[in-house]
């Protein structure tokens, strides 16, 4: 199968959609398919061989945040060339509403189209103004996929119709094979716990964890808190008690390999997020790496953790409950091992191989329908409307 994938966001900077596209493309290439990805990227950025750059991206304020997008007549011509040259059996467009190569590809394309919706937070005013412009083009989409229930709800309320929910995939084996690092591994006197994410964003929950730590340090004085992610430690730790500050170690932004090793090495991985999580892919990564997970009881987290069966949970934004759960886990290595083992088993449900099989089924259904439609007889009037094609 020749598969064309369009990513609207620049490959210059990392991001959820970019990773999703990269992983999906690599999975299908591994299965012997022909895959080409079209995405904005600067000429200096080194790209994998299967990515075609649509040109440098411009930072634009859109839908409440700054996104690096690519548009304009030159880009539109490039998109058309890529489509003509690729002659894809199926075109998979990510974020079809993003005003970048996605919309351009959607407008220019004329074959079986699959669209994946990632965001769940499109503002209704953006939708109201943008929608009439691209509604006719969106009607070309033969199959809609949403990466989460929340993203699906956005589709059903704003666009109408329905979408199939196929979550993000995780390369479970890649995380499972991560080596332990001695500097992050606990000793009997000095157990380690890990936090990952942008530390200055309150909804990632670091303040909740910091508020819980004094009680934990009373019971487990040697505890080390390893914090990985972008942010300024001085600013973040402002107002923390001195001994909590002493216990925290800031690693800054870490590579994918380091992230996996950190998750594998720490005794407990803590996800104190207070909201805004639609899926919780980081929990699945932690489970894959064999970490014991302690997370807030957000609905998305609860779904991933099977209602608490494969990871411990605490009441959202309740530091006292967090401390109680954490102390319990730190004092019970047996329970930690059990949770880690069952978590790793469950993570396989979210593996890329499972997810990609579902996406392949979508491709095949769409392609089959297109072939059937082409064998239908057409009248002169139909041919006129299709610009003499077929």
């Amino acid at each position: 199968m020749r598969i064309g994938i369009v990513c609207p966001y620049s490959f210059d900077v990392p991001g959820g959609v970019q990773f999703h596209v990269r992983d999906l493309a690599e999975h299908f290439i591994g299965e012997g398919e022909e895959v080409s990805v079209l995405a904005p990227a600067d000429s200096e950025t080194t790209l994998p061989g299967y990515v075609v750059s649509s040109g440098g991206a411009t930072p634009v304020r859109y839908n409440g945040s700054v996104a690096r997008l690519n548009f304009g007549p030159v880009t539109a011509a490039k998109v058309s060339r890529w489509l003509d040259h690729g002659r894809f059996d199926v075109l998979h467009i990510h974020e079809p509403m993003a005003p970048s190569v996605s919309v351009l590809a959607l407008m220019a394309a004329d074959g079986p189209i699959v669209a994946t919706f990632h965001t769940s937070m499109i503002r209704s005013r953006t939708m109201q103004t943008a929608y009439p412009i691209i509604r006719p083009a969106l009607e070309k989409v033969a199959a809609r996929i949403a990466v989460s229930e929340d993203a699906r709800r956005t589709v059903t309320t704003h666009i109408g119709g329905d979408a199939i929910v196929i979550p993000n995939g995780v390369y479970v084996d890649r995380f499972a094979a991560a080596p332990h690092r001695p500097e992050w591994t606990s000793t009997p006197e000095r157990p380690t716990i890990a936090f990952l994410g942008r530390m200055h964003e309150p909804r990632k929950g670091l303040p909740v964890l910091a508020a819980a730590l004094p009680a934990v340090l009373d019971e487990v004085p040697g505890l080390r808190l390893l914090v990985a992610g972008p942010g300024d430690p001085v600013e973040v730790t402002d107002g923390w008690p001195e001994r909590v500050r002493q216990a925290a170690e800031f690693l800054g932004s870490v590579s994918d390999e380091d992230k996996a090793s950190l998750l594998a090495s720490a005794d407990v991985y803590i996800a104190p997020n207070t909201g805004g999580e639609s899926f919780g892919i980081i929990l699945i990564e932690a489970m894959s790496a064999g970490a014991c997970v302690l997370a807030s009881d957000l609905p998305a987290f609860s779904r991933v953790l099977d209602g608490g069966a494969v990871g411990a949970m605490f009441r959202n934004e309740d530091p006292a409950h967090l401390a109680e759960q954490l102390i319990g886990l730190l004092k019970d290595p047996e329970r930690r091992r059990e949770l880690a083992t069952s978590g790793q088993a469950r993570a396989h449900l979210f593996d890329w191989s499972v997810v990609a099989d579902q996406i392949r089924a979508v491709y095949e259904t769409v392609v089959e329908g297109r072939l059937a439609a082409q064998t239908e007889p057409s009248t002169r009037w139909n041919r006129f409307l299709r610009g003499g094609a077929r």
């Binding site: 009607e139 070309k140 109408g160 329908g369 299709r386």
Partner: protein, 183 residues
């Protein structure tokens, strides 16, 4: 004189715009109808595949006699009506889903799984067929929703842009995965 001429041009311009809009809408509708034909054909194909997979399982000798009979009857019913649409077909597919639910229970799924490669193979084929029925029906109903929305537009109704094509309706039947196939 020039007054008359500019009026003529104005009217001509308006006519051209109207003509363009009508052709544009007609092309849009035509594209939607092509998509609809495709999704319906895909749904038909997947339903046949599901019925065939059910029939194979019924004939495999892996199920007990009574269950096989229930499943085979329902599957044969579905295979007898290929290409037919409407309430009768929906009822038939509903019956097949129900038959699958009573025959491929969780216990049966586990037993088949332990029975060896043949059972696993049958389960995998049936699971894939059931999943694709769900996908195909969802995609078809999405296309129906889009077509109906455009066909409700006043230009489409006033100029009869849809011609004699009947108004499509969504296909409604239970396509829930039988418990023995989940996970």
């Amino acid at each position: 004189m020039s007054d008359v001429l500019s009026w003529v041009f104005a009217v001509l311009f308006v006519l051209v715009v109207i003509a363009w809009y009508l052709t544009y809408t007609a092309a849009r509708l035509d594209r939607l109808h092509v998509r609809l034909t495709g999704t319906l054909a895909a749904l038909d194909a997947q339903l046949v595949r599901r019925a065939e997979a059910s029939l194979e399982l019924a004939h495999s000798g892996l199920l007990d006699g009574a269950t096989s009979l229930i499943l085979a009857t329902a599957a044969a019913e579905s295979l007898e009506n290929p290409g037919e649409h409407g309430e009768i077909r929906e009822a038939v597919e509903n019956d097949l889903t129900e038959a699958l639910h009573v025959s491929v229970t969780e216990e049966v799924g586990e037993t088949l799984h332990e029975d060896g490669p043949l059972g696993v193979d049958h389960l995998a084929r049936l699971r894939s067929a059931c999943m694709r029925v769900q996908l195909a029906r969802r995609f078809h109903n999405d296309a129906v929703t889009d077509v109906r929305r455009v066909r409700r537009k006043w230009v489409v109704r006033l100029f009869r842009l849809a011609g004699h094509t009947p108004m499509p309706r969504t296909v409604e039947f239970d396509d829930e995965m039988p418990p023995g196939l989940v996970a």
